[in-house]
Symmetry: C2
Subunit: 207 residues, 2 copies
Protein backbone atom coordinates (compact mmCIF):
# COMPACT_ATOMS: atom_id res chain seq x y z
CA UNK A 1 0.00 0.00 0.00
CA UNK A 2 1.22 3.50 -0.84
CA UNK A 3 0.84 6.19 1.80
CA UNK A 4 1.57 9.83 1.03
CA UNK A 5 2.46 11.92 4.04
CA UNK A 6 0.95 15.10 2.75
CA UNK A 7 1.50 18.58 4.15
CA UNK A 8 -1.07 21.26 3.30
CA UNK A 9 0.04 23.85 0.72
CA UNK A 10 3.29 22.12 -0.04
CA UNK A 11 5.40 20.30 -2.57
CA UNK A 12 3.59 17.07 -1.78
CA UNK A 13 0.55 18.20 -3.79
CA UNK A 14 2.47 17.26 -6.93
CA UNK A 15 2.99 13.70 -5.65
CA UNK A 16 -0.79 13.33 -5.38
CA UNK A 17 -1.07 14.61 -8.94
CA UNK A 18 1.48 12.04 -10.12
CA UNK A 19 -0.31 9.17 -8.37
CA UNK A 20 -3.63 10.27 -9.88
CA UNK A 21 -2.07 10.42 -13.37
CA UNK A 22 -0.75 6.90 -12.78
CA UNK A 23 -4.13 5.78 -11.39
CA UNK A 24 -2.41 4.09 -8.46
CA UNK A 25 -4.18 3.35 -5.19
CA UNK A 26 -2.88 5.35 -2.29
CA UNK A 27 -3.81 6.71 1.10
CA UNK A 28 -3.15 10.21 2.33
CA UNK A 29 -2.03 11.10 5.82
CA UNK A 30 -2.76 14.78 6.26
CA UNK A 31 -0.48 17.16 8.18
CA UNK A 32 -1.04 20.81 9.01
CA UNK A 33 1.73 23.39 9.16
CA UNK A 34 2.80 24.69 12.55
CA UNK A 35 0.70 27.89 12.77
CA UNK A 36 3.58 29.87 14.27
CA UNK A 37 6.53 28.86 12.09
CA UNK A 38 4.52 27.66 9.04
CA UNK A 39 6.94 24.73 8.89
CA UNK A 40 6.00 21.04 8.84
CA UNK A 41 4.82 19.68 12.21
CA UNK A 42 6.99 17.44 14.40
CA UNK A 43 4.81 14.43 13.58
CA UNK A 44 6.47 14.20 10.16
CA UNK A 45 9.84 13.59 11.84
CA UNK A 46 8.48 10.31 13.15
CA UNK A 47 8.09 9.12 9.58
CA UNK A 48 11.46 10.33 8.27
CA UNK A 49 14.21 12.24 10.09
CA UNK A 50 14.15 15.03 7.52
CA UNK A 51 10.59 15.75 8.65
CA UNK A 52 9.54 17.50 5.46
CA UNK A 53 6.82 16.77 2.94
CA UNK A 54 6.59 14.91 0.66
CA UNK A 55 7.33 11.57 2.28
CA UNK A 56 6.12 8.48 0.54
CA UNK A 57 5.70 5.17 2.26
CA UNK A 58 5.38 1.99 0.22
CA UNK A 59 5.11 -1.01 2.53
CA UNK A 60 8.32 -0.81 4.62
CA UNK A 61 10.12 1.60 2.29
CA UNK A 62 10.21 5.33 2.99
CA UNK A 63 11.09 7.74 0.21
CA UNK A 64 11.83 11.44 0.66
CA UNK A 65 12.58 14.27 -1.79
CA UNK A 66 10.17 15.05 -4.64
CA UNK A 67 12.63 14.42 -7.47
CA UNK A 68 13.62 11.03 -6.03
CA UNK A 69 9.97 10.02 -5.58
CA UNK A 70 9.18 10.98 -9.17
CA UNK A 71 12.14 9.00 -10.50
CA UNK A 72 11.07 5.99 -8.48
CA UNK A 73 7.62 5.93 -10.11
CA UNK A 74 8.91 6.79 -13.57
CA UNK A 75 11.11 3.72 -13.26
CA UNK A 76 8.56 1.31 -11.75
CA UNK A 77 5.56 2.44 -13.84
CA UNK A 78 7.46 3.31 -17.03
CA UNK A 79 5.37 6.41 -17.63
CA UNK A 80 5.96 10.18 -17.65
CA UNK A 81 9.71 9.64 -18.07
CA UNK A 82 12.12 11.14 -20.63
CA UNK A 83 10.70 11.30 -24.19
CA UNK A 84 12.47 9.38 -26.94
CA UNK A 85 13.32 12.49 -28.91
CA UNK A 86 16.83 13.55 -27.90
CA UNK A 87 16.03 17.25 -27.57
CA UNK A 88 12.92 16.56 -25.55
CA UNK A 89 14.83 14.12 -23.32
CA UNK A 90 17.40 16.84 -22.66
CA UNK A 91 14.63 19.26 -21.71
CA UNK A 92 13.13 16.62 -19.46
CA UNK A 93 16.41 16.19 -17.62
CA UNK A 94 16.97 19.93 -17.38
CA UNK A 95 13.56 20.68 -15.88
CA UNK A 96 13.55 17.72 -13.52
CA UNK A 97 16.49 19.42 -11.79
CA UNK A 98 15.80 23.06 -12.60
CA UNK A 99 12.52 23.07 -10.62
CA UNK A 100 14.33 22.71 -7.31
CA UNK A 101 17.89 23.57 -8.34
CA UNK A 102 17.30 26.97 -9.92
CA UNK A 103 13.72 28.06 -9.42
CA UNK A 104 12.98 27.20 -5.79
CA UNK A 105 15.97 28.96 -4.13
CA UNK A 106 14.86 32.53 -5.02
CA UNK A 107 11.24 31.60 -4.17
CA UNK A 108 12.33 30.26 -0.80
CA UNK A 109 14.53 33.32 -0.20
CA UNK A 110 11.50 35.51 -0.99
CA UNK A 111 9.49 33.67 1.65
CA UNK A 112 12.23 34.25 4.24
CA UNK A 113 12.60 37.91 3.24
CA UNK A 114 8.85 38.50 3.35
CA UNK A 115 8.75 37.19 6.90
CA UNK A 116 11.24 39.92 7.83
CA UNK A 117 8.62 42.52 6.84
CA UNK A 118 10.04 46.00 6.33
CA UNK A 119 13.51 44.82 7.36
CA UNK A 120 13.65 42.53 4.36
CA UNK A 121 12.79 45.27 1.90
CA UNK A 122 16.30 45.86 0.45
CA UNK A 123 16.53 42.19 -0.53
CA UNK A 124 13.17 42.04 -2.28
CA UNK A 125 14.11 43.92 -5.44
CA UNK A 126 17.15 41.80 -6.41
CA UNK A 127 15.21 38.58 -5.76
CA UNK A 128 12.25 39.78 -7.86
CA UNK A 129 14.70 40.67 -10.63
CA UNK A 130 16.17 37.17 -10.46
CA UNK A 131 12.71 35.61 -10.62
CA UNK A 132 11.73 37.83 -13.54
CA UNK A 133 14.78 36.58 -15.45
CA UNK A 134 13.66 33.00 -14.83
CA UNK A 135 10.11 33.71 -15.99
CA UNK A 136 11.30 35.46 -19.16
CA UNK A 137 13.53 32.51 -19.99
CA UNK A 138 10.83 29.94 -19.25
CA UNK A 139 8.13 31.82 -21.09
CA UNK A 140 10.27 32.01 -24.22
CA UNK A 141 11.24 28.38 -23.90
CA UNK A 142 7.56 27.39 -23.73
CA UNK A 143 6.50 29.39 -26.79
CA UNK A 144 6.49 26.42 -29.15
CA UNK A 145 5.27 23.43 -27.15
CA UNK A 146 2.51 22.61 -24.68
CA UNK A 147 4.62 20.82 -22.04
CA UNK A 148 8.12 21.30 -20.71
CA UNK A 149 9.56 18.26 -22.46
CA UNK A 150 7.53 18.43 -25.67
CA UNK A 151 4.02 17.40 -26.70
CA UNK A 152 3.21 15.21 -23.73
CA UNK A 153 2.95 15.69 -20.00
CA UNK A 154 6.01 14.28 -18.19
CA UNK A 155 7.31 14.19 -14.64
CA UNK A 156 9.19 17.41 -15.48
CA UNK A 157 5.88 19.31 -15.71
CA UNK A 158 4.73 17.92 -12.40
CA UNK A 159 8.05 18.88 -10.80
CA UNK A 160 7.72 22.40 -12.25
CA UNK A 161 4.14 22.81 -11.04
CA UNK A 162 4.87 23.67 -7.43
CA UNK A 163 7.41 26.47 -7.96
CA UNK A 164 5.38 28.01 -10.78
CA UNK A 165 2.14 27.80 -8.82
CA UNK A 166 3.86 29.41 -5.84
CA UNK A 167 5.26 32.08 -8.17
CA UNK A 168 1.81 32.72 -9.64
CA UNK A 169 0.34 33.11 -6.20
CA UNK A 170 2.95 35.34 -4.59
CA UNK A 171 6.05 36.08 -6.63
CA UNK A 172 5.15 38.02 -9.76
CA UNK A 173 4.26 35.33 -12.30
CA UNK A 174 1.50 37.20 -14.14
CA UNK A 175 0.11 38.16 -17.58
CA UNK A 176 3.56 39.23 -18.75
CA UNK A 177 4.31 35.52 -19.19
CA UNK A 178 1.38 34.18 -21.25
CA UNK A 179 2.99 30.88 -22.23
CA UNK A 180 3.56 29.97 -18.61
CA UNK A 181 -0.01 30.88 -17.66
CA UNK A 182 -1.30 28.80 -20.58
CA UNK A 183 0.82 25.88 -19.39
CA UNK A 184 -0.55 26.27 -15.85
CA UNK A 185 -4.13 26.25 -17.18
CA UNK A 186 -3.33 23.16 -19.24
CA UNK A 187 -2.09 21.36 -16.13
CA UNK A 188 -4.99 22.48 -13.97
CA UNK A 189 -7.56 21.31 -16.51
CA UNK A 190 -6.32 17.73 -16.36
CA UNK A 191 -8.79 15.44 -14.61
CA UNK A 192 -5.96 13.82 -12.63
CA UNK A 193 -4.85 17.24 -11.38
CA UNK A 194 -8.38 18.00 -10.24
CA UNK A 195 -8.78 14.67 -8.50
CA UNK A 196 -5.49 15.28 -6.67
CA UNK A 197 -6.74 18.69 -5.61
CA UNK A 198 -9.95 17.24 -4.24
CA UNK A 199 -8.17 14.55 -2.28
CA UNK A 200 -5.35 16.77 -1.02
CA UNK A 201 -7.49 19.39 0.67
CA UNK A 202 -6.21 22.94 1.24
CA UNK A 203 -3.91 24.09 -1.53
CA UNK A 204 -3.46 27.81 -1.85
CA UNK A 205 -1.60 27.76 -5.15
CA UNK A 206 -3.94 26.21 -7.71
CA UNK A 207 -6.01 29.38 -8.39
CA UNK B 1 35.17 19.02 -27.55
CA UNK B 2 33.76 19.66 -24.09
CA UNK B 3 33.85 23.22 -22.77
CA UNK B 4 32.93 24.02 -19.19
CA UNK B 5 31.78 27.58 -18.64
CA UNK B 6 33.13 27.88 -15.15
CA UNK B 7 32.30 30.58 -12.63
CA UNK B 8 34.72 31.13 -9.74
CA UNK B 9 33.55 29.85 -6.34
CA UNK B 10 30.44 28.20 -7.73
CA UNK B 11 28.56 25.00 -8.36
CA UNK B 12 30.56 24.46 -11.53
CA UNK B 13 33.58 23.31 -9.52
CA UNK B 14 31.85 19.95 -9.10
CA UNK B 15 31.53 19.56 -12.89
CA UNK B 16 35.31 19.88 -13.19
CA UNK B 17 35.65 17.23 -10.49
CA UNK B 18 33.32 14.90 -12.40
CA UNK B 19 35.22 15.39 -15.67
CA UNK B 20 38.52 14.69 -13.89
CA UNK B 21 37.11 11.53 -12.32
CA UNK B 22 35.99 10.47 -15.82
CA UNK B 23 39.36 11.46 -17.29
CA UNK B 24 37.65 13.28 -20.13
CA UNK B 25 39.32 16.03 -22.14
CA UNK B 26 37.78 19.42 -21.63
CA UNK B 27 38.48 23.12 -21.82
CA UNK B 28 37.56 25.68 -19.21
CA UNK B 29 36.25 29.12 -19.96
CA UNK B 30 36.70 31.13 -16.79
CA UNK B 31 34.21 33.73 -15.57
CA UNK B 32 34.49 36.10 -12.62
CA UNK B 33 31.56 37.16 -10.46
CA UNK B 34 30.26 40.71 -10.79
CA UNK B 35 32.15 42.40 -7.91
CA UNK B 36 29.08 44.43 -6.90
CA UNK B 37 26.28 41.84 -7.00
CA UNK B 38 28.48 38.70 -6.67
CA UNK B 39 26.27 37.14 -9.35
CA UNK B 40 27.46 35.57 -12.61
CA UNK B 41 28.58 38.12 -15.23
CA UNK B 42 26.47 39.00 -18.28
CA UNK B 43 28.88 37.13 -20.56
CA UNK B 44 27.39 33.83 -19.38
CA UNK B 45 23.99 34.87 -20.78
CA UNK B 46 25.50 34.74 -24.25
CA UNK B 47 26.13 31.03 -23.76
CA UNK B 48 22.75 30.14 -22.25
CA UNK B 49 19.78 32.42 -21.43
CA UNK B 50 19.78 31.30 -17.79
CA UNK B 51 23.22 32.85 -17.50
CA UNK B 52 24.31 30.78 -14.51
CA UNK B 53 27.18 28.36 -13.98
CA UNK B 54 27.61 25.54 -14.67
CA UNK B 55 27.01 25.53 -18.39
CA UNK B 56 28.49 22.72 -20.38
CA UNK B 57 29.05 22.87 -24.11
CA UNK B 58 29.67 19.71 -26.07
CA UNK B 59 30.03 20.55 -29.77
CA UNK B 60 26.74 22.31 -30.61
CA UNK B 61 24.89 21.11 -27.52
CA UNK B 62 24.52 23.32 -24.46
CA UNK B 63 23.59 21.78 -21.12
CA UNK B 64 22.60 23.71 -18.00
CA UNK B 65 21.76 22.67 -14.42
CA UNK B 66 24.23 20.58 -12.40
CA UNK B 67 21.93 17.60 -11.86
CA UNK B 68 21.11 17.39 -15.56
CA UNK B 69 24.80 17.59 -16.52
CA UNK B 70 25.67 14.81 -14.07
CA UNK B 71 22.90 12.58 -15.41
CA UNK B 72 24.08 13.19 -18.95
CA UNK B 73 27.60 11.92 -18.16
CA UNK B 74 26.40 9.08 -15.96
CA UNK B 75 24.39 7.91 -18.96
CA UNK B 76 27.02 8.41 -21.65
CA UNK B 77 30.03 7.20 -19.62
CA UNK B 78 28.21 4.57 -17.56
CA UNK B 79 30.13 5.49 -14.41
CA UNK B 80 29.28 7.04 -11.03
CA UNK B 81 25.60 6.19 -11.48
CA UNK B 82 23.21 4.37 -9.13
CA UNK B 83 24.77 1.32 -7.40
CA UNK B 84 23.23 -2.11 -8.01
CA UNK B 85 22.25 -2.60 -4.40
CA UNK B 86 18.64 -1.48 -4.02
CA UNK B 87 19.19 0.46 -0.79
CA UNK B 88 22.24 2.19 -2.15
CA UNK B 89 20.42 3.03 -5.39
CA UNK B 90 17.65 4.61 -3.34
CA UNK B 91 20.20 6.69 -1.45
CA UNK B 92 21.80 7.69 -4.72
CA UNK B 93 18.46 8.97 -6.05
CA UNK B 94 17.67 10.73 -2.79
CA UNK B 95 20.95 12.61 -2.61
CA UNK B 96 21.05 13.49 -6.30
CA UNK B 97 17.94 15.58 -5.63
CA UNK B 98 18.43 16.46 -1.97
CA UNK B 99 21.60 18.46 -2.68
CA UNK B 100 19.70 21.18 -4.51
CA UNK B 101 16.13 20.38 -3.44
CA UNK B 102 16.57 20.45 0.33
CA UNK B 103 20.05 21.61 1.25
CA UNK B 104 20.70 24.56 -1.06
CA UNK B 105 17.53 26.60 -0.30
CA UNK B 106 18.44 27.39 3.35
CA UNK B 107 22.07 28.00 2.30
CA UNK B 108 20.94 30.40 -0.41
CA UNK B 109 18.53 32.09 2.01
CA UNK B 110 21.43 32.53 4.44
CA UNK B 111 23.44 34.24 1.72
CA UNK B 112 20.57 36.65 1.03
CA UNK B 113 20.00 37.29 4.75
CA UNK B 114 23.71 37.87 5.39
CA UNK B 115 23.73 40.53 2.67
CA UNK B 116 21.05 42.38 4.64
CA UNK B 117 23.52 42.76 7.51
CA UNK B 118 21.89 43.71 10.81
CA UNK B 119 18.47 43.92 9.16
CA UNK B 120 18.61 40.22 8.40
CA UNK B 121 19.39 39.22 11.96
CA UNK B 122 15.92 37.93 12.97
CA UNK B 123 15.97 35.48 10.06
CA UNK B 124 19.40 34.04 10.82
CA UNK B 125 18.47 31.93 13.83
CA UNK B 126 15.62 29.95 12.22
CA UNK B 127 17.73 29.29 9.11
CA UNK B 128 20.69 28.09 11.21
CA UNK B 129 18.30 25.82 13.09
CA UNK B 130 17.06 24.40 9.81
CA UNK B 131 20.62 23.80 8.62
CA UNK B 132 21.57 22.18 11.92
CA UNK B 133 18.68 19.72 11.47
CA UNK B 134 20.01 18.83 8.04
CA UNK B 135 23.55 18.32 9.32
CA UNK B 136 22.38 16.11 12.21
CA UNK B 137 20.39 13.97 9.81
CA UNK B 138 23.22 13.73 7.28
CA UNK B 139 25.88 13.03 9.88
CA UNK B 140 23.85 10.15 11.32
CA UNK B 141 23.11 8.85 7.86
CA UNK B 142 26.82 8.81 7.04
CA UNK B 143 27.89 6.96 10.22
CA UNK B 144 28.19 3.58 8.54
CA UNK B 145 29.52 4.18 5.04
CA UNK B 146 32.21 6.23 3.34
CA UNK B 147 30.12 7.71 0.52
CA UNK B 148 26.52 8.88 0.24
CA UNK B 149 25.36 5.91 -1.82
CA UNK B 150 27.52 3.22 -0.21
CA UNK B 151 31.12 2.10 -0.55
CA UNK B 152 31.95 3.87 -3.78
CA UNK B 153 32.02 7.46 -4.92
CA UNK B 154 29.00 8.30 -7.09
CA UNK B 155 27.54 11.38 -8.76
CA UNK B 156 25.51 11.86 -5.57
CA UNK B 157 28.69 12.69 -3.61
CA UNK B 158 29.79 15.16 -6.24
CA UNK B 159 26.35 16.81 -6.20
CA UNK B 160 26.51 17.03 -2.39
CA UNK B 161 30.01 18.51 -2.40
CA UNK B 162 29.08 22.09 -3.20
CA UNK B 163 26.38 22.63 -0.56
CA UNK B 164 28.43 20.89 2.13
CA UNK B 165 31.58 22.78 1.22
CA UNK B 166 29.64 26.03 1.32
CA UNK B 167 28.17 24.98 4.67
CA UNK B 168 31.63 24.17 6.03
CA UNK B 169 32.92 27.53 4.95
CA UNK B 170 30.11 29.77 6.16
CA UNK B 171 27.05 28.03 7.59
CA UNK B 172 27.96 26.10 10.72
CA UNK B 173 29.13 22.73 9.42
CA UNK B 174 31.84 22.05 12.01
CA UNK B 175 33.30 19.44 14.40
CA UNK B 176 29.82 18.62 15.74
CA UNK B 177 29.35 16.58 12.56
CA UNK B 178 32.44 14.35 12.36
CA UNK B 179 31.10 11.94 9.73
CA UNK B 180 30.44 14.79 7.33
CA UNK B 181 33.89 16.25 7.89
CA UNK B 182 35.44 12.82 7.31
CA UNK B 183 33.47 12.51 4.08
CA UNK B 184 34.65 15.95 2.96
CA UNK B 185 38.28 14.98 3.66
CA UNK B 186 37.77 11.74 1.73
CA UNK B 187 36.52 13.71 -1.28
CA UNK B 188 39.25 16.33 -1.08
CA UNK B 189 41.99 13.70 -0.94
CA UNK B 190 40.98 12.22 -4.27
CA UNK B 191 43.54 12.99 -6.99
CA UNK B 192 40.73 13.90 -9.43
CA UNK B 193 39.35 16.41 -6.93
CA UNK B 194 42.78 17.98 -6.58
CA UNK B 195 43.31 18.16 -10.32
CA UNK B 196 39.91 19.85 -10.69
CA UNK B 197 40.89 22.36 -8.01
CA UNK B 198 44.15 23.18 -9.79
CA UNK B 199 42.45 23.68 -13.12
CA UNK B 200 39.45 25.59 -11.77
CA UNK B 201 41.36 28.37 -10.05
CA UNK B 202 39.84 30.32 -7.15
CA UNK B 203 37.58 28.16 -5.01
CA UNK B 204 36.88 29.43 -1.52
CA UNK B 205 35.18 26.31 -0.22
CA UNK B 206 37.71 23.50 -0.43
CA UNK B 207 39.59 24.37 2.78
Amino acid sequence: MIIVHHLENSRSQRILWLLEELRLDYEIKHYKRDPRTMRAPRALKKVHPLGKAPILQEDAVILAESGAIFEHFVQTEKRFGPPRDLHDARRYRLYMHYAEGSLMPPLFAMLVVNKLGLLGRPARKPIMKMLHEHFVYLDEDMADRPYFAGDQLTAADMMMSFPLEAARSRAGLDERYPNLLAWLRRCHERPAYQRALERGGDYAYAG
